[in-house]
Amino acid sequence: MSGNGAVSVTSVLEKTRADGRAGLVGYLPAGYPTVDASITAIRTMIDAGCDLVEVGLPYSDPVMDGPAIQRAAAAALAGGMRTRDLLRVIEAVSGHGVPVLVMTYWNPIEKYGVDAFSRDFAAAGGAGLITPDLIPDEADEWLAASERHGLDRVFLVAPSSTPERIARTVEVTSGFVYAQSIMGVTGVRDSTSTAAPGLVARTREATTLPVGVGLGVRSGAQAAEVAGYADAVIVGSAMVSCLLDAASESEGLAALRSLTTELADGVSHPTD
């Protein structure tokens, strides 16, 4: 599914799978360092080879995020970032052939109104939501709104998920299934997870949907490794760190471009 007849998440990942590679999903928060600069940064990821982008809505209490994303989100909020600015970012970065998902904690969506947000988000060109603190058991309103407005709903599975929960989760998921590769928060790690391949295999037993793996990837080699068993490689903190660690905006964008290129090359050469 996707709004506005644009290219859908599933079709992108079916194509990358047919090409013998994984899709690259790049994450950046909206509004960091400013709303306009975040638009430029997200476009840079798209130009440098991301197959999908995931735009974060900064939130005051991001329990699933490690230090890098927390810092960027806090700075964005301190800079006056509002939910309506997110919609402006979505409008500016969608329509470039790359589906745009939003990763958000649930309270800002409830506050906006689940149906109202879905309507405005779809109208802005958004493809779907990734909801790290919303499990299907609590998602009736979102399930209905996403149907109504043609949005994908990406739910998470984790190493601790039972087969029953995985089955129940994939049943209501669309676009792709987000496999949280490690028991922990976001942030780069030197080695990728040993639990991830098993989790992906368990997920595949329950669905034919593409499976994306996130949490911890920061290099081309790691991306290639994850691409060996997953349909999509999700990179967040490493992308954000390019901007956080840079001395200037242009330096940050250059680092982001270079990392995205490296990761895109990695997902194109899956390790067996």
Binding site: Y59, S60, D61, P62, V63, M64, G66, P67, Q70, A74, L77, R82, T83, W106, N107, P108, I109, E110, K111, Y112, P132, D133, L134, I135, D137, E138, F155, L156, V157, A158, P159, S160, S161, T162, R165, T169, Q180, M183, G184, V185
Partner: protein, 404 residues
Amino acid sequence: MSAGQADRLGHWGRFGGRFVPEALIAALDELETGWRKACADEEFRSELDRMLREYAGLPSMLYEARRLSEHAGIRILLKREDLNHTGAHKIRNVLGQALLAKRLGKPRVIAETGAGQHGVASATAAAYLDLECTVYMGAEDVRRQALNVARMRMLGAEVVSVETGSRTLKDSINEALRDWVSSVDTTHYLLGTVAGPHPFPTLVRDLVAGIGTEARAQCLERYGRLPHAVAACVGGGSNAMGLFHAFVPDEDVALYGFEAGGEGIETGRHGATLVGGSVGVLHGARSYIMQDDDGQIIESYSISAGLDYPSVGPEHAWLMETGRARYEAVTDVEAMEAFALLCRTEGIIPAVESSHAVAGALRLAPRLRELHGPAATIIVCLSGRGDKDMETAARYFGLTGEST
């Protein structure tokens, strides 16, 4: 849904539930099942009873505050949780959860703390039951509550200063949740109040429900009748839920919760989420929370650190929505007046948290007297003692220096 019972997924109406990462669901299921089995296990129950009796000093007294009653014009009974070991009702919760953690084979507990009371209680239970303990505390609170930090460390706990967000209680909960996602195989999250994802609101309520069952029995035994009303302060809401639970089916007993009105609801500087907040999701449950127009969480404020929390237990939201309990806000000024009054009339220095309940009872007194006459009786949960608040009180009343 019968009174006091949540549905299978921990919902009271639209409140409660589980708004947490999928990674935590297995642990929450394990906790729920483990708790249900423990409750059915005679050995577990008698071990916990023994700990509460021999170690924590329970049951706590129900004390008729004669001079305070005279002042108020009705009979005020204080449930003396301030006399428990570690000085508050919180010992009931931590001993229960720590014993459960042991039963679940988890050698480590983590806890959040604001002013440090739940942290000290957790460190105490961990020392008593030989568990490793890490307490997350906002950097701002670590600075303000140096004595409690020393206490926790003395008891063998590791205290982690949380530098993220507003660096207060809500951020220490975020950090504890982050720890728990990473360590759930070996770690139990010893949550300090009736908030959080299912099963915590039910679990913590059941562990502190002795406040109400004891008070109800004590009142019946001594006066041959139930009180006309019961009152407690509400931050996260554990002492209030503990007092209310036994009385919920007694429809003639009015339930009153008193929230932190801070500098006044109209100023925005308060911690009264039920009175002045709106429905939203925070720390794993849908309840009333303090939030801005975009659903970003707003800082709460109260002179009492223990009531300074921008959410509240979901069962309170339900009790308010159904009209079974009533909630009002008590300002800093009213609470501190009640604090002083209890000191002077009864020789009891209450926690500033509990002073909100005393202030609320004093406000209710004329109403209760009009309805029930001078025999009107109210039970007030004196949830904690005020030793920890002497610095606040000394500053507030100007008690330092050579003469007063």
